[in-house]
Amino acid sequence: MAEKRIGLQTVKLSNPPSILGTATVVGPKEGEGPLKDYFDIILEDDMWGQESFEKSEVKIQEEAIKQAIFNANLSSKDIEYLFSGDLLNQIITSSFTARQLNIPYFGLYGACSTMTESLSLGAMIIDGGFADKVVCATSSHFSSAERQFRFPLEYGSQRPFSAQWTVTGAGATVLASSGNGPYITYITTGKIVDFGIKDANNMGGAMAPAAIDTISQHFKDTGYSPDDYDLIITGDLGLVGKRILLDLMKKEGYDLSKVYSDCGIKIFDGVEQDTHAGGSGCGCAAVVFNGYIYKEMLKKNLNKVLLVATGALHSPIITLQGESIPCIAHAVTIDNLID
């Protein structure tokens, strides 16, 4: 009997895992943004002494994981599972990071939804009694993502206003079966939602329906309303996705305007930093959650947060074949108090 399930897509964790520590590493541009004071390590150079962007991303993720374990006052021997993923083909960043760490490893691909995908699975493994301490992590790198999904860096192209800027950064969370919080209490796992958007420069518009689907299902399953939350924050819908989400959620009967934000909008100053619709990438939700949200929760400025990382599960090959973009959003409730 799956007695922890409530509603159609949600689980209520009966022994909510606690966050023991987090860490973030970000690139120079993120380190100049509005959230700069919340990050652990800010790089001066996004190559970080490595010979390629991919190798630099590996180092960024590895340092974030090591730092998170250190911040939790643990050593890597204490960690029973590592859940991580990234944007690169065959999730090489995560696997090459895991190669250094010697921790049993589950590699995930959820595109930019990976932060909540890893938190969901990590929390369920702990609540199910299969582990006491796990690390959930993800990363992205502007330059490694650009070359895989778009154009060479030095190519002189113009970006449309709906385009987003891939965050260079990694975030890692250490979850444990006991601790003083914040706790992961509910998990709403998303379905693939695809409304036929084919424009890879309009990720916000493509992903917004997935976020709307998951958030409304979360309310139906848990009985919560927007007022129960201090913050409901999506991963990387950006300005276009935000507009769509607020508008369509209202039509569904939920007014989110007072509590809603988006990690992609928070991380950059869109006008000053010329990032157009906002940040994106796995690292976007990862560094905003592990930096800003976690630290604000420790200070009790936020007590109950719904983190909804959103992912566009496409590839350049299938886009060229004329396919639309399948999208997903996973929601995780993070609570300072448990009943």
Binding site: E51, S52, P152, L153, Y155, G156, S157, F161, G196, A206
Partner: protein, 149 residues
């Protein structure tokens, strides 16, 4: 979301995207593209002054512009010109140089054969294929219609 089908949503989402600043883009493209052409003209005039004939001047001007485009790509400036100028920076021969040099730089770490050489034409390739292809077709048409004259 249940009351919206795919087509309706796509139309709706399209309306939520900020409109491109067409007038500004066209103006910048004109200025940047025009400036590159003026620069080319200056080179041409100077080469004539050095006493080169018409044919050599045309070739030498192209060579110099390709060099400048590649050089500015190499030192990380041409992408900024392209960001402002759009098609004004992409259409002139300097933009063509940019489209070849930028992937060559980007893929250097994957080696000189499967990296630099194989990826070099990933952007310029289509231009070359259809440019050369259409010039062959035009050449054949020219031959047919001017045959015997």
């Amino acid at each position: 979301m249940d009351n919206m089908n795919n087509k309706e949503y796509q139309k709706y989402a399209e309306r939520k995207i900020p409109k491109p600043t067409y007038f500004k883009n066209i103006l910048y493209a004109f200025v940047v593209g025009g400036a590159i052409c003026v620069f080319g003209q200056i080179i041409r005039n100077m080469l004539f002054k050095f006493g080169l004939d018409e044919n050599s001047v045309t070739i030498a001007t192209s060579i110099i512009l390709v060099f400048v485009g590649s050089f500015l790509t190499g030192i990380g400036i041409y992408d900024k010109i392209g960001k402002i100028g759009g098609a004004g920076a992409a259409i002139p021969i300097t933009g063509f140089a940019n489209s070849i040099v930028s992937p060559a730089m980007e893929y250097k770490r994957e080696g000189f054969i499967f990296g630099v050489a194989a990826r070099m034409f990933s952007i310029a390739g289509p231009v070359l294929v259809y440019g050369v292809g259409s010039s062959v077709i035009v050449g054949i048409l020219y031959l047919i219609f001017t045959k015997g004259r």
